[in-house]
């Protein structure tokens, strides 16, 4: 039925106003024509209308060399719709009830389409190649009245584009390209074969209204009828077909055609000889095939065609083969014309390529007609079309407005080939309305005027350069000057806005440093179930970054990525507990969010320049969902993670993050101090994150259904991973099975609920974009599951009902356009189930709150950032200019120069400023996230409080003050001229305003400090001072902004100065003095001293921060001293002379360094120095006995004394024996008896310590933390060095002395010195002697030792108890000559 409508409307049978009403879904009064409208589906009509437009403009668009690269994807929505719908019907889907036109049973239908599809595929592809060779629409026209052709058209509508669908199947990456590609080449090969015209009609393109008319009639009939007609048709076409033989058009590429033919032939045999099917389904494909076949074959084909459907199974295999061949063929062609999406793997196709690049030679021979506004005919009819078109767009009956604009602009930029033009003209002059848009003039008029109708959208989606280009376009100027004016005007506005904006917010948030900071709250050990898991995650975190670093490295260096999978595997096996996966997923998510969001403009100056210099200028299309270079890592990571458990955690992490972000309050009424740009920025932040997360969530969810097992032996890196075949429709049967299997599964997020909720809360501008990204990632089948169908219906409903620019629904224009574009993008995706659009059933009616949707949040830059595909339109415009002049497609970009301030002072200041803000950010990032939220909250609340406070007090006071002054002023100048008085009053108020502004900020600053300090102290007691500063800074910034925004005019002091003046004048002097303003001076509260978590200052700290001279004097580094001391000993051992100049300061330094106040000192360094100094003495005694003087010993004593300050003094003198051994000898008499057992115990290592160390030692010991516990032992140990002075080693050393006599006597001096200074006790010495005597020694050593002992005894006698001397003497006497025998 819809097919008749266009005709009727054009011919005036249907009133256009009525019709528009019908389109707008308004009730239509009853009239004759209504019956047509009433029994027609609006959606059907939309589809027909669009395809009508496309067909009309076909030949014109061909001339547009720029357009095709993008157009291929979008050009023919109606076909997709058809194909989809048809396809949909064929599925036994319980949910689809409105199969209005389908009379066939589901089952048969499906079968047929399934069976017939292969042949269609083949034909389709073949046709495509062929079409290149034949270009004509004109011919179609000529034959358009033909019955047969008409029937074809009809059939197409009913059964529609199965072939297209197949085409999609064949070429997953470029599903929609198929119908378009051929067209773009037609022009070159169009040749003069009028007979070919049949082809066109058969190839499902309705070229004229007649088609629709007939179809309409036929459509009511049963399929059989259709079939018959089509059969007739086929015979017709077969005759014609001979001409289409490629050989007839050698110029186009003989080689090519022959190769194609050969392939075609391969295909043919499978079809031939099969019994004829009754289905009319294959008709379309058949016709198209006919064209490609040489005529005799074509005839056979017709026959074969019928048979084919009956025996589909047998041919299936061959079909597969053929399909593959065709697939490759098409792929090659696509490649040729650079229309392959970057992400497709072109490498898979190896077959030789066909050269198609003949266009240059052709172009030269072809004359183009340029549009001319004076030659428009049937203007009124075109206007009707425009009106209909506009109504469709306005009512959101067309899925993608952007596509339509693209289409219109493409027309605008096209020329027409002369031959086409002539045909069109002649037809038009014959009043043939079928050609109404076939002439370039009419067509351009249509385009320009339709664009005018869409100017509101244009203004938004075009960037300023495109606006300018389009506005300056000669055609636009001549066809519709108003549009040109409008465009240039909005260009001016955009420029202006841009300048303003640049000044306003020069910087956004800076890029991250690529690190997710360790978050104390979520990452510390308490967040892990076990220590092992914590430790494992430590490794995993590092490994993750290693992998990331490695990946980036291979990206730049082009290294192989073969180990990617192995690395991920290692990472995941490193910690396999669920907790680890969860943490890893969180880290992954956080990292992805921080890494993948676009960088701000500020820091990218350098990279911008670099990009301009290094990157090719070829515009990339964003038609299909894609992953940016940075996102690729995460995508591949997920793909190569063959760990379902981790993926589930990842999914949870994504989903939870989405939920949080989706519910982020952005525009709450309560936020009085948030300005528009704040909301915008925040919105952009949130939206970006959501889009990213949703995209990945969709990816993860679709992965199990789309991922083809990777060949593990094959390298994964280097080449980009293959694109998922998700865009290709699966086999019918497969799809059906999958649907049956999965129809009741639900996504991990309650998407429907979220969407409806957000609709209710007017937050769809947040929810819909991410939902779109999510859906775009899903696979073909998933999108057709019951759940998603319902979801999509809700979306469609929102699209058609809510997103209309005309109705006042509280949404801002930009927001609507944004949502429309992004939804249009989704609807246009190849795997999107468009057919659902026409089955909307759900009606949501909700009242909407005022929320984010009602705010003006979307600006141009955001629009382009969030919808990268909008660039396609702009690119189309900006590239066309050049390519029209020069015959090649060179792109042309407007480049805004990158500027740099040359004022050094400025730069330094900026640098400092930038550094500060970077520090701030870095600081914030390192804080736990909860702290950040608290900070945000505090800033928010404190500012809000201050705003209230300001309005309540200082403002009120200022009002009163201003009023008083005004009164005084009026009183003083009562006689003055009113205008002068008014002016002076205004001045006065202005002055008052300034005053109150400055003073308010000052008072507020004080409040803010106290309040935020209190708040932070209460909420975050451990917050460092910097956090307080940040809070204050944030508050002040917001407050300043608020004051700037709100306290701008004197209105805040006095609404109407003039009225006030009049009142004051009339009141005169009797005006009562208003009460003095309650100026409550803000309490000059000192900002609460930030709670420093630092420990109370200790002496340690004071010493540490002492001024340099003091510090360096008191703190001597022990390490070099030890080295030196050791070196001196070594030198002595090697019989070299140590100089006093070196030794003296060294020993002095050693003494200082051993002092407990030396921060660098440690117990073990003291110990080492002590030990070495004792050794030094021994060595000196051995080697240079003459140097062992009292002076030297005193120097060493300084060291020892600091090391061992607590020596038991003079045990012998004090008669303190009871203290020492009360238990053993109560009467203190039998000393010798007591001592006797000691020597007998031949364990000379375990010398009992004669000194009891007082507990005070512990306190005096070095205060360094880690050593405290071992102080006691170590300190005690120190004196042990002296207790082994007479150890075997030293005696050996002494015995090696070159001058034994002096050495031994020096030793005696040394020992006496030790005794004297209480380093050595008498007991200890006797014990040592005994121990020595127990070993075997040469006679001379024993003698020397005895001499030495005697000497000690004699020198010590004065101060000693007699017993010790006696004992020593005895030992010396007894052992001096014992010669081995006494022991044992």
């Amino acid at each position: 039925m819809p097919e008749t409508i266009i005709e009727s409307v054009l011919s005036g049978k249907i009133d256009i106003a009525l019709f528009i009403k019908w389109l707008g879904n308004e009730p239509v009064e009853d009239s004759n024509e209504d019956c047509v409208l009433l029994c027609c589906n609006r959606s059907e009509f939309v589809v027909q209308f669009l395809s009508y437009l496309r067909n009309q403009t076909d030949n014109i668009l061909q001339t547009n060399t720029n357009a095709h690269q993008v157009l291929q994807y979008q050009n023919t929505p109606e076909k997709i719709i058809n194909s989809r719908r048809n396809h949909h019907r064929s599925i036994s889907d319980p949910t689809s009830d409105d199969r209005t036109m389908d009379n066939l049973s589901v089952k048969t239908d499906r079968q047929r389409s399934h069976e017939s599809s292969p042949s269609k595929d083949r034909k389709r592809a073949g046709r495509k190649v062929k079409t290149k060779l034949f270009t004509d629409d004109k011919k179609d026209q000529s034959v358009s009245s033909d019955e047969s052709r008409l029937s074809c058209g009809l059939e197409r509508i009913v059964i529609s584009s199965t072939p297209l669908k197949n085409g999609v199947k064949d070429h997953p990456n470029l599903p929609l390209a198929s119908p378009v590609t051929p067209r773009s080449f037609r022009e070159y090969e169009r040749c003069d074969t009028p007979r070919l015209s049949h082809r066109h009609s058969r190839s499902h393109e309705k070229n004229c209204l007649g088609d629709y008319l007939v179809t309409a009639q036929k459509s009511t009939k049963k399929k059989k009828v259709v079939k018959n007609i089509s059969n007739d048709d086929t015979t017709d076409s077969s005759i014609v077909l001979d001409l289409s033989n490629s050989e007839m058009f050698p110029e186009i590429g003989v080689r090519k055609s022959s190769s194609l033919r050969s392939e075609r032939r391969r295909i043919k045999p499978t079809n031939i000889d099969k019994p004829v099917a009754q289905k009319s389904y294959s008709l379309n494909s058949f016709t198209s095939e006919c064209f490609q076949q040489p005529s005799p074959l074509a005839l056979e084909d017709n026959v074969a065609f019928k048979q084919q459907s009956l025996q589909p199974k047998e041919s299936a295999n061959t079909f597969e083969v053929e399909r593959n061949m065709l697939k490759q063929e098409r792929h090659k062609l696509m490649e040729k014309f650079n229309i392959l999406n970057t992400s497709t793997s072109c490498t898979a196709i190896v077959t030789p390529q066909i050269k198609v690049s003949h266009k240059d030679s052709f172009e030269k021979n072809i004359n183009y007609i340029k549009s001319d506004c004076t030659k428009i005919v049937f203007k009124d009819k075109i206007d009707i079309l425009i009106e209909i078109y506009n109504a469709l767009l306005k009512n959101n009956l067309i899925l993608s407005v952007i596509t339509e604009i693209y289409f219109l602009i493409s027309i605008l930029l096209s020329k027409q080939i002369e031959d086409d033009y002539v045909t069109a003209e002649t037809n038009l002059s014959n009043n043939n309305l079928d050609f109404i848009l076939k002439s370039i003039h009419n067509c351009t008029y249509f385009a320009v005027k339709s664009l005018w109708a869409q100017r509101v959208v244009l203004e938004v989606i075009l960037d300023k350069n495109s606006l300018k280009i389009l506005g300056e376009n000669k055609k636009v100027r001549s066809f519709y000057p108003d549009l040109a004016k409008f465009l240039l005007n909005s260009y001016g506005l955009k420029c202006e806005a841009e300048n303003n904006q640049e000044r306003k917010n020069p910087t956004e948030s800076r890029s991250s440093n690529g690190v997710i900071c360790f978050n104390l709250e979520t990452d510390n050990i308490d967040n892990f179930p076990t220590v092992a898991s914590f430790q494992n995650f430590k490794k995993q975190r590092d490994m993750f970054y290693q992998i990331l670093g490695w990946y980036q490295e291979t990206q730049t260096s082009g290294g192989s990525r073969t180990t990617f999978r192995a690395r991920i595997k290692t990472l995941l096996t490193c910690g396999q507990s669920p907790a680890n996966y969860a943490h890893l997923a969180t880290l992954f998510t956080a990292h992805m969010l921080s890494e993948c969001l676009p960088q701000n403009t500020q820091e990218s100056k350098m990279s911008k320049l670099q990009r301009r210099l290094t990157c090719p200028t070829a515009p990339e299309s964003h038609r299909l969902p894609y992953f940016s270079v940075k996102e690729l890592f995460y995508k591949e990571f997920i793909m190569y993670t063959e760990n379902e458990s981790f993926r589930v955690h990842l999914r949870d992490a994504f989903a939870s993050e989405i939920i949080i972000l989706d519910s982020t309050p952005i525009a709450i009424d309560d936020r009085t101090n948030a300005s528009g740009s704040d909301i915008s920025r925040e919105y952009l932040q949130v939206s970006r994150k959501l889009n990213l997360l949703a995209k990945f969530l969709g990816f993860v969810l679709a992965l199990p259904y789309t991922q083809v097992p990777l060949d593990s032996s094959k390298s994964v890196g280097a080449v980009r991973p293959p694109q998922q075949p998700s865009h290709a429709p699966p086999k019918e049967r497969v799809l059906e099975n999958n649907l049956a299997l999965r129809n009741y599964s639900q996504p991990s997020l309650d998407l429907k609920g979220l969407l409806i909720n957000s609709y209710k809360n007017s937050r769809i501008s947040i929810t819909i974009p991410w939902l779109v990204h999510y859906l775009s990632q899903l696979d073909y089948t998933t999108l057709r599951l019951k759940y998603y169908q319902e979801l999509l219906k809700i979306i469609f409903n929102i699209y058609t009902d809510k997103l209309k620019l005309s109705t006042d629904n509280g949404m801002k224009k930009n927001t609507i356009i944004y949502l429309k574009s992004i939804l249009g993008w989704l609807f246009d995706l190849p795997h999107f189930p468009m057919e659902l659009f026409y089955e909307k059933t759900i009606q949501i009616t909700v009242m909407c709150e005022v929320n984010i949707d009602c705010y003006d949040v979307i600006d141009e830059s955001m629009l382009f950032e969030l919808c990268p595909f909008l660039k396609d339109v702009n690119v189309l415009l900006s590239t066309c200019r050049v390519s029209h002049d020069q015959k090649e497609v060179g792109s042309f970009r407007h480049i805004t120069p990158v500027s740099l301030s040359f004022n050094t002072e400025d730069r330094i200041r900026n640098k400092e400023k930038e550094l500060q803000s970077r520090l701030e950010e870095e600081f914030l990032r390192s804080q736990p996230s909860s702290w950040r939220r608290v900070l945000e909250l505090v800033v928010e609340r404190v500012t809000a409080g201050c705003v209230r406070e300001l309005a309540a007090r200082p403002l009120a006071a200022a009002r009163a003050r201003a009023r008083a002054r005004a009164r005084a002023h009026v009183a003083a100048h009562a006689r003055a001229d009113t205008t002068a008085l008014l002016e002076s009053l205004q001045g006065l108020y202005l002055e008052q305003l300034q005053q109150v502004r400055t003073s308010a900020l000052e008072t507020a600053a004080t409040w803010i400090r106290t309040r935020s300090a209190h708040a932070l102290a209460a909420l975050l007691p451990a917050a460092p001072p910097a956090l307080h500063a940040l809070a204050v800074k944030g508050c002040l910034g917001r407050l300043r902004k608020w004051i700037d925004d709100n306290w701008t005019t004197t209105a805040i002091l006095c609404k109407d100065i003039e009225a006030e003046m009049k009142a004051l004048v009339s009141l005169g002097e009797c005006a009562s003095w208003a009460g003095a303003p309650p100026v409550t001076p803000a309490t000059p509260a000192t900002p609460a001293s930030p709670a420093t978590p630092a420990s109370p200052p200790t002496t340690d700290l004071r010493a540490l921060t002492a001024p340099a001279p003091v510090f360096h004097a008191a703190n001597v580094s022990p390490a070099p001293l030890i080295i030196h001391l050791k070196e001196q000993i070594c030198l002595l051992l090697e019989d070299e002379e140590p100089s006093d100049e070196e030794l003296t300061p060294l020993l002095a330094n050693c003494a200082t360094s051993c002092s407990p106040s030396n921060l660098f000192g440690r117990l073990h360094t003291q110990r080492a120095i002590l030990q070495l100094s004792v050794d030094l003495c021994i060595v000196l005694v051995t080697k240079r006995p003459d140097k062992v003087t009292e002076a030297f010993l005193l120097k060493v004593n300084a060291i020892w004394n600091t090391c061992c300050p607590d020596r038991k003094k003079n045990q012998s003198e004090e008669t303190s024996l009871p203290d020492r051994r009360p238990d053993l000898s109560p009467d203190f008499r039998n000393f010798e008896d007591d001592r006797a057992p000691t020597p007998v115990s031949d364990d000379d290592v375990k010398v009992t310590t004669p000194i009891i160390i007082s507990p005070g030692v512990i306190e005096l010991a070095n205060s360094q933390k880690e050593e405290v516990n071992c102080v006691e032992d170590n300190k005690e140990e120190f004196l042990e060095f002296f207790e082994r002075v007479l150890c075997p080693r030293n005696i050996v050393m002494l015995s090696h002395s070159k001058s034994p006599g002096p050495a031994w006597s020096a030793m005696a001096t040394f020992l006496v010195f030790l005794l004297h200074h209480h380093y050595l006790s008498e007991d200890s010495l006797t014990e040592q002697c005994l121990a020595v005597y127990r070993q075997d020694w040469p006679q001379n050593v024993l003698e020397s030792l005895s001499t030495c002992m005697k000497s000690v005894s004699s020198q010590w006698s004065r101060s000693s108890t007699g017993k010790f001397n006696l004992f020593l003497d005895f030992l010396a006497e007894y052992c001096g000559d014992m010669e081995y025998e006494p022991m044992e």
């Binding site: 900071c517 975190r541 520090l919 630092a1094 070594c1130 073990h1164 360094t1165």
Partner: protein
């Protein structure tokens, strides 16, 4: 000062070459090197030598009872000879092992109790065998890289420079959390100093500071990078590493340097530090 601590590769290579010519790991050989490169700060050269010795010891010294007893046999053999001299020194030189390590190996063979062996190495006066005691003493005294004194020196230097760093931070009023605090809070990796509020050094953001009281060459740097520095980076962001005794100039061209962290040989001058201003 700090410039000369960033060592040219040629000089470093020359040192390595000279080192590889040495026939002994005793202090005397080292002193010769030191004399040759006396224009370098002694601590720098000492650190380089120390690293080189450690690396060659990794190759030539094995801790095993078999080798210990073999060493002991050699020792016994030489000790029977009357003209003793520095037996351990001689043996260690001909075994290509540092004297202190040789001595330790010997003691491990003598004392079955490894705790006792350790004690004796620490204090040679405890060794009963008088000749062994003397020999071990000589061995240890002549070894600058191994033995108790060397250990103490290394440990002491590390602590000392951490303290110096802490002093600088405190003088600048830069607040920080040290390793112990961080560990008590449950951090998994802890740099020497994690700054509470980041600072900028010559425009580079610094979140943490790691003190390395040694010379940074390629080998130990890459070790630290893997074990510590990159871990700190991926937890706390960029930081500062101080190689107090200098580092090899080639480190400056490593991708991670000036990216994950910057290298210095001293605590940066006050002028080059930008602190986050807290002007309330």
């Amino acid at each position: 000062m700090s410039e000369c601590k960033i060592m040219k590769l040629e000089i470093y290579n020359a040192i390595v070459d000279d080192f590889s010519m040495l026939t002994s790991f005793s202090r005397r050989a080292e002193n010769e090197l030191k004399k040759k490169y006396n224009q370098l700060p002694p601590s720098t050269l000492g650190s380089i030598i120390s690293l080189l010795v450690q690396r060659s010891m990794k190759q030539s010294y094995r801790k095993s009872p078999v080798i210990s007893s073999k060493y002991h046999d050699l020792y016994e053999e030489l000790m029977t000879d009357k003209s003793k001299g520095n037996v351990i020194m001689k043996l260690s030189d001909c075994q290509g092992v540092s004297p202190a390590l040789f001595a330790r190996s010997l003691l491990q063979n003598v004392y079955s109790d490894s705790a006792m062996a350790k004690k004796c190495i620490k204090d040679t006066t405890l060794i009963e065998d008088k000749d062994l005691a003397y020999q071990v003493f000589m061995g240890i005294m002549n070894d600058n890289q191994y033995g108790p004194y060397a250990d103490i020196i290394k440990q002491s230097i590390g602590l000392e420079y951490e303290l110096r760093l802490e002093r600088e931070l405190r003088l600048m009023n830069i607040t920080f959390s040290d390793e112990n605090i961080l560990r008590s809070r449950g951090y998994d990796k802890t740099p020497d100093f994690k700054l509470d509020v980041p600072i900028a050094v010559d425009g580079f953001i610094v979140n943490w500071v790691e003190s390395k009281a040694l010379f940074g060459d390629e080998e130990n740097h890459s070790g630290y990078l893997k074990e510590q520095l990159s871990c700190y980076w991926n937890r706390f962001g960029p930081g500062l590493v101080i190689y107090w005794f200098g580092y090899l100039e080639t480190l400056n061209s490593k991708p991670e340097v000036n990216n994950m962290f910057i290298l210095r040989t001293n605590f940066p001058e006050k002028a080059s530090i930008t602190q986050y201003r807290i002007d309330l």
